[in-house]
């Protein structure tokens, strides 16, 4: 098994995924690599359809049936230092890995809870599936977690899902996600279906939880202000590739890729909600026949002659801040002019 740094919990190497469809193969993930450190929160940002969900689903091997991982590995490091490739786990190992090591809150899952079972039953089910069948202990732990997410613990625990509002269900799901103390929690647009006040509450709760329980987070969002608040590291996804990645401040104040720069330029300076990711000119690329060279070139205002021929690679610029672009200097210049 590949070597991993001690403080890294998840390491994705050169991962590529296609969806087989009748119109051709959708290249939804292309040579994606990144590391997630222990206790770190990483945000994946990018337009809808850029491949964020595909990346996250592959991490717990929950991709749709027509998906195929064509290359790469997903290495997971246990607390005792043991390293496993998630893509090679047996069915039993995979079942155990899910939720116990890596929990996931799916995008748009309004009905994450089984309507005919009480919340308590669903917490117990989760615990028992991973060999923890002491109902009293499960109850006690669950009540603590429900309190941590600022719900009335007893009442919610004994309720049926339909007795909870949307925001309450989402918080209950957050509590459930950390029931088995996983090292990683993946949150795919966890606040999209909620109103703004509830979104705020969820983000506060998440920050709280992470502080107390110290797990790693992969946070997917197309709302940059939420991502900025949650993340230590931000990765920009475009056309199934990570085109820029770096510490949150570098990304927001010194972005090097024209696409990230464009996204941020469109963010209003005040902390206001706005769907900014649609405000970049042009349409998202076709992933069945993607553009040649740099896939962003048809929409890029800094485009050079070589851009539609040569594929730019993620190169190290400022320590841990990487961007895949031939013309970063122009971006830096443009920012200077802006100020």
């Amino acid at each position: 098994m590949g070597k991993m740094k001690d403080d890294v919990v998840l390491q994705v190497d050169d991962l590529s995924i296609v969806y087989h469809t009748i119109r051709g193969d959708v290249k939804a993930t292309n040579n994606v690599s990144f590391e997630l450190r222990k206790g770190e929160a990483m945000a994946l940002i990018g337009e809808s359809g850029s491949g964020k969900t595909t990346i996250s689903l592959s991490l717990i091997r929950k991709l749709p049936k027509n998906a195929e991982v064509t290359q790469g590995q997903v290495l997971y490091q246990r607390e005792n230092g043991e390293v496993q490739d998630i893509l090679q786990l047996s069915n039993r190992q995979l079942r155990e890995f899910r939720w116990q090591d890596c929990a996931m809150v799916f995008q748009g899952a309004q009905n994450a809870f089984n309507p005919v079972l009480k919340v308590s039953k669903q917490f117990e089910d989760t615990a028992r599936a991973h060999g923890w069948s002491d109902k009293k202990a499960v109850r006690q732990r669950s009540l603590e977690l429900l309190k941590l997410v600022r719900l009335d613990p007893e009442r919610v625990y004994d309720a049926y899902p339909h007795e909870l509002s949307g925001g309450m269900k989402q918080r209950t799901l957050l509590a459930l996600s950390v029931l088995l103390s996983p090292q990683i929690v993946i949150l795919d647009e966890p606040t999209t279906a909620l109103d703004i006040l509830t979104q705020r509450a969820i983000i506060d709760v998440l920050n709280d939880m992470q502080e107390k329980l110290n797990f790693s987070i992969i946070f997917i969002s197309h709302d940059l202000s939420l991502a900025a608040e949650m993340a230590d590291v931000v990765a920009t996804v475009y056309a199934g590739e990570i085109i820029e990645i770096g510490p949150v401040n570098d990304m927001f104040y010194e972005s090097l890729h024209p696409y990230t720069f464009g996204l941020l330029a469109a963010v209003p300076k005040l902390d206001h909600e706005q769907d900014v990711l649609t405000s970049i000119k042009g349409t998202p690329p076709n992933l069945i026949n993607p553009p040649s060279g740099c896939k962003f070139h048809p929409r890029c205002r800094f485009v050079l002659d070589r851009c539609n021929v040569d594929v730019p690679a993620l190169t190290e610029d400022l320590g841990s801040h990487l961007a895949a672009c031939w013309n970063k200097e122009a971006v830096v210049e443009a920012r200077k002019e802006q100020v």
């Binding site: 717990i60 929950k62 079942r95 155990e96 890995f97 899910r98 939720w99 116990q100 929990a103 996931m104 799916f106 748009g108 899952a109 309004q110 009905n111 994450a112 809870f113 089984n114 309507p115 005919v116 079972l117 009480k118 089910d125 989760t126 599936a129 991973h130 009335d152 009442r155 919610v156 309720a159 049926y160 339909h162 007795e163 909870l164 509002s165 309450m168 799901l173 459930l176």
Partner: protein, 364 residues
Amino acid sequence: MVSQTSPMLEDAKPESATERIIERAMKIYQNYILRVLLQAVLTVWAVTSFTFILIRLMPGNPIDVLVEQILVQEGISYEEAYARVASSFQFDPDASTLDQYLDWLGDLIRFDLGESITSPGTKVIDEIARFLPWTVFAVGAGLLISFILGIVLGMAMAYYRNSPLDHLLSLFASFITGIPNYIWGLLIVIILGIQFGLFNVGQLRGTYASDVEIGFNYPFISSALAHAALPIITYVISTLGGWMLNMKSSTMSVLNEDYVNVAEARGLRDSRIISAYVGRNAMLPLFTQLTISIGFVLGSGVVIEEIFVYWGLGHYLFASITTRDYTSMQGVFLILTMTVVMANVLADLGYGLLDPRVRVSGEK
């Protein structure tokens, strides 16, 4: 019916669990039970009144039927035969239908179903008590077996959709559903009984062999099962296909639900997901259909019992129709209606147990 659904927990003021249970029970009592009872009584009254009239619209009356029979057999004069029959029956063919109806209703309110017209001295209620259990046994067993089989096969079809197994079972389900149940009854008698000689239809007359003693003993139970087997098989075959196809489509839609996906991500075992997450939710719509099916199978059971000479309520009804035994027919229709209504209430309550969302509001 409680009009509002259960309150959001956020809005409810704190109160103890027992208080909530009592309050809930009161609501259900005041609204649900009363409503259901009232509906049941009204339904039974309407259906039986309707059949009361229908019965009397049939050509001939009890006296005519027997007179004709005597005329053919004994060759006496019409007047003689009529006088003989009329004197032995407690039935006045000249009384108005309204009078008869009011008489019958008056007795019914005192739970009196009267005596058989054609065999004076025999209480209708006793005859029903003799025949009803066999019908309930055969229909109940048939429906139960068919429901369970249908659920298991339907889920298998959904889990292995588009596999050869699914295609084969779909074909099978459509085929057995397309043929009416009395045809199945006849086919079984003709093909299995007569062509292949797998059983002797004559020996399976009645509900158990005459030489066994009723009670909890092997000869009686095995004999009762053997006699009921063919009607039960017919009920199973004629209803199974519907359950299978319904369960398949219901399961397929549940498999797309978020909570199934999340359950898999939670690492639950497949067995738990199949039973408590997929199965239980997919079964809910079938429960509503169960109530319709009970009435349907009971009704068609009359013909099936006649085909297999199974002495249940249907057989008794058939005999009563032949002799135009009005009181017996009315009794049977009343009991059949009550059984269907009761089955509906039970299925309704069962649905409430399975689906917490309908428990308080009493509606979906």
